[in-house]
């Protein structure tokens, strides 16, 4: 009986991953002339090369409609590196090395002939740079094109790995659908052509060091897990506040709104990291199983519930950080009668043993007084206070606040005795500042996530069922709000913490938003 020899494995690779070595690879960027490529992707790729984290056998191929020569695209690369504040070390030799292995192919993503040209170029450069047939496709294009791109790549024979042990991976940008039905349709279209283990759905929030630190805080410390449940936690507040408005992207925001832009992805990501059960391991499979499980356990919001668990808002004119700003409806590209929400607050509960009865309050808005993202675990008050009420100056119980941005860190609020002869008690804060302990991490989330994709690590990327579970939570809210046009907007002034209805949402439970 003939047996096939097992594929040869490079024995010298083992143990080197800590030093950053990755497999040779060709990175093809769809939408290479676009904003995301220029502002985020090219500087991130340069940083990876400069830090010698990208493999020495590496090449970049830009692909978009706009006709450009290799030299013109190389100029786009050097200009975007020069303009980026995310570039850490300006290293002319490293940039030159990257420039020399960067190429461009022009073509329309709907055109079969363009993919034949792309395939020829990929084969040529694969030989030239010895990238072993390993490919990553990055879709930095309008979301409506993702499915079509996958179909064409499949048609051109580009998504099947060639000879073992090569790989083909596809990084898919957000937004991943605009509601549950479109996300399901996109998943099923992509999965017709590309395997789930090849798809890397990016949410750059998961590439942030401090978001990953939530997991370390929870699962590397023995003291938090025992109290991380309904017996000790009163409620959880997740805030994703931006002081900016829509920055000239009126037509984009009109189609999107705060729920699609932030709540369905970033805010629910944070909620799942705080709420998930400890995974058996941090491999992509175990970790994502637990992350999806907790999103699926969120109590479904029915159309009848929407009014009692979700509120929306839109900013009017006001002042932010000392500057007068216009209201949303006065922004360029925005309908003067728009009912697109720029603020939303939700009250969600998780139906499982750990969290039953603990409300998770989520709020996100534009034009808030400051930019801040934090998760606050409000703990229950001590069951009995042996002190007179007057002695406790600022009762409030214990809060563990995980700050994600801008001042990454962890703060614990607890009560302490004010020095003196009487028993006066005052709330104090104990701070851990990430930057002051480890220095500020300067790698951008895109850098981290592209590197993870090069290494074949899907842990920090979304899985199809995770994306659909998140859409299932917000879908009824989007539907209800789209059909109920009778809303009095604007209902909060720019530079304030959102509409009064958001305060009422918590007041009904006898709680209030944290003053940030």
């Amino acid at each position: 009986m003939a047996t096939t020899a097992p594929p040869l494995v490079n024995p010298f690779r083992e143990g080197l991953s800590l030093e950053g070595a990755t497999q040779p690879v060709q990175l093809v960027i769809f939408g290479a002339s676009g904003d995301l490529t220029q502002r985020k992707l090219l500087p991130a790729i340069y940083n990876l090369c400069q830090a010698k984290l990208a493999p020495p056998a590496f090449s970049v191929i830009g692909f978009a409609r706009q006709p450009m020569t290799d030299d013109q695209f190389r100029k786009v690369l050097t200009d975007s590196v020069a303009a980026s504040s995310e570039v850490r070390v300006r290293d002319a030799a490293a940039l030159q090395q990257l420039v020399e292995c960067t190429h461009y192919v022009a073509g329309d993503f709907h055109d079969d002939a363009a993919y034949a040209t792309l395939r020829d170029a990929m084969q040529r450069y694969d030989r030239q740079y010895a990238t072993n047939g390993n490919r990553i496709f990055y879709t930095a294009t309008p979301a409506s094109l993702y499915g079509d791109i996958a179909a064409h790549l499949h048609g051109a024979g580009l998504v099947k790995p060639g000879e073992q042990p090569s790989f083909v991976r596809m990084i898919v940008e957000k937004p991943f659908g605009r509601d549950l039905a479109s996300a399901k349709a996109l998943n099923s279209e992509l999965l017709t052509y590309v395997g789930e283990d090849q798809i890397y759905r990016i949410d750059h929030y998961l590439g942030k060091e401090t978001v990953q630190n939530i997991l370390v805080l929870r699962f590397a410390n023995g003291i938090f897990e025992p109290i991380w449940n309904r017996r000790y936690v009163d409620s959880v507040q997740i805030t994703v506040a931006e002081s900016l408005g829509i920055e000239g992207r009126g037509s984009f925001y009109e189609e999107t709104g705060v729920v699609r832009d932030v709540i369905q992805n970033h805010a629910l990501q944070l909620m799942s990291l705080v709420g998930m059960e400890p995974p058996v391991s941090f491999d992509a499979h175990d970790f994502r199983d637990e992350k999806v499980r907790v999103v699926k356990a969120i109590h479904p919001v029915t159309p009848a519930d929407v009014a009692s668990v979700a509120v929306r808002g839109q900013y009017g004119p006001g002042s932010v950080a000392g500057d007068r700003v216009v209201g949303y409806r006065q922004e360029p590209g925005v309908d003067p009668n728009s009912i697109t929400p720029t603020y939303a607050a939700l009250r969600l509960v998780i139906d499982n043993w750990r969290w039953a009865g603990v409300p998770f309050y989520i709020r996100s808005g534009k034009r808030m007084p400051k930019r801040i993202t934090e998760i606050a675990m409000q703990f229950k008050e001590a069951p009995h206070l042996p002190f007179r009420k007057a002695e406790v100056e600022t009762p409030g119980g214990n809060v563990l606040a995980l700050q994600i941005q801008p001042d990454e860190g962890v703060t614990l609020h607890f009560d302490a005795k004010v020095p003196g002869p009487s028993m006066r008690i005052r709330a104090v804060e104990m701070d851990f500042n990430y930057g002051e302990t480890f220095g500020v991490s300067d790698a951008s989330p895109y850098e981290r996530l592209i590197l993870d994709c090069m290494k074949g690590d899907q842990t920090l990327f979304d899985r199809a069922d995770g994306v659909e579970a998140a859409w299932a939570i917000v879908d009824p809210i989007l539907t209800a709000w789209a059909s109920d046009k009778d809303v009095k907007f604007p209902n909060y002034d720019a530079g304030t913490w959102g509409p009064a209805v958001a305060d009422e949402l918590l007041a009904r439970d006898g709680r209030s938003w944290r003053r940030l």
Binding site: E14, F432, T437
Partner: protein, 369 residues
């Protein structure tokens, strides 16, 4: 030049002399002064105590320069301990607090410098013991020759969870075929490898040991691994059964350098059939290259003409590699840019993770000795 009050001169600028019992109070005071200068709230952070063992305080400046370079990266307490004659009553102490990057986030380092005469090692160790930051990892960076048998090392290592040495600094006096460890002299790779193995044995499971010299082989290891990522090169691997490493030496009969032996150990560990045929030899000294550095690595086949040759390039610094087919025809070249890693970068690499380095330990076991 001696300091006032019978105090020896401070081993570096910016240090304030203190009596050992006053170390914590002096640090706290300097800290308060630093925070006042920052004009913003600052929480104290500390991630480890770094003990720096210096054999002779008069050679201390490079060690302090390295500490300064690390200071901006980690909030650490550094306790530098060295031997110097003439320390008052056998023991002298200084402190300093430095905050870096005050504009955005400030990372503060506390420095304690302890100097003792040879007969006051027990006193200096007791001062170190009392100055460790509670419950945080203690890393000992030994900046000297072979540490075993040195009472300062013994005292400091007993307090540490991790020791970092530099086998390149291990010095020996050659007496016939034997090499006897001394505080300064010539390198002798086989003796250094034996000394490293002894250290690992001494550490057992209580502490881990790392070697800066092993870190210096990282660019060579990464280059070899990358060459074998190439499918054509990988296809030649089954036939590869010989390796040769050339290091910079003074004479052809120089004993192999520790670095070259560690590199050979790694190759032999990764490809056990190389155990039979591996060679480490001194190359003609080129361009004033420091002794012991790797100059070339060759992997060849005894049954055909396939080979991989990696050669150090002087300017710009890098490694050039060339692969040849079974017929001896060159089919691929690589050019790896590299830079000479500074002592601070090497130490930083060792501090990034606190556990042991299994690949280093396996390569040390496989090194020729």
């Amino acid at each position: 030049m001696p300091g006032g009050d019978g105090m020896p001169a401070a081993p570096m600028k910016g240090l304030t002399p203190v009596a050992v019992p006053g170390i914590e109070a002096a640090l706290a005071e300097r800290r308060r002064a630093m925070i006042a200068k920052l004009e913003r709230p600052h929480s104290r952070a500390c991630v480890m105590t770094l003990l720096v063992g210096i054999e002779e305080m008069k050679d201390n400046q490079p060690a302090f320069d390295v500490v300064q370079q690390l200071a901006g990266k980690y909030p650490i307490r550094v306790i530098a301990v060295g031997r110097a004659e003439g320390a008052d009553g056998g023991l002298a102490a200084w402190v300093n607090t430095e905050c870096e990057g005050a504009e955005s986030v400030a990372i503060c380092t506390e420095e304690i410098v302890l100097q003792s005469s040879a007969d006051a090692v027990d006193r200096v160790i007791s001062a170190v013991r009392g100055s460790l930051v509670s419950e945080l990892p203690v890393v000992l960076w030994w900046r000297g020759s072979v540490p075993s048998g040195n009472p300062l090392w013994t005292g400091l290592f007993a307090l540490a969870d991790r020791a970092i040495v530099d086998s390149h600094r291990f010095a020996f006096r050659h007496a016939g075929g034997d090499a006897k460890a001394v505080s300064s002299g010539r390198g002798h790779g086989p003796a250094a490898i034996k000394a490293l193995r002894d250290l690992l044995r001494e550490a057992g499971t209580r502490a881990s040991v790392r070697d800066l010299n092993w870190q210096r082989t990282a660019p060579w290891r990464a280059a070899v691994a990358t060459c074998f990522d190439d499918r054509e090169m990988l296809a030649l691997l089954p036939g590869i059964d010989r390796c040769a490493i050339t290091f910079a030496g003074e004479r052809d009969d120089d004993p192999p350098s520790a670095r070259a032996l560690l590199m050979a150990g790694w190759l032999r560990n990764r490809l056990p059939r190389l155990h039979e045929q591996s060679k480490v030899a001194a190359g003609k000294r080129s361009g004033g290259l420091e002794s012991g550095r790797i100059v070339a690595v060759t992997l060849t086949s005894s049954t055909n003409k396939s080979s991989l040759l990696l050669v150090r390039r002087a300017a710009p610094i890098g490694i050039e590699a060339q692969a040849s087919s079974r017929e001896g025809k060159a089919f691929r070249r690589w050019d790896f840019g590299a830079s000479t890693l500074t002592e601070a970068q090497l130490l930083d690499g060792c501090l990034e993770s606190l556990g042991s380095d299994p690949m280093f330990e396996a390569s040390l076991r496989s090194a020729i000795s």
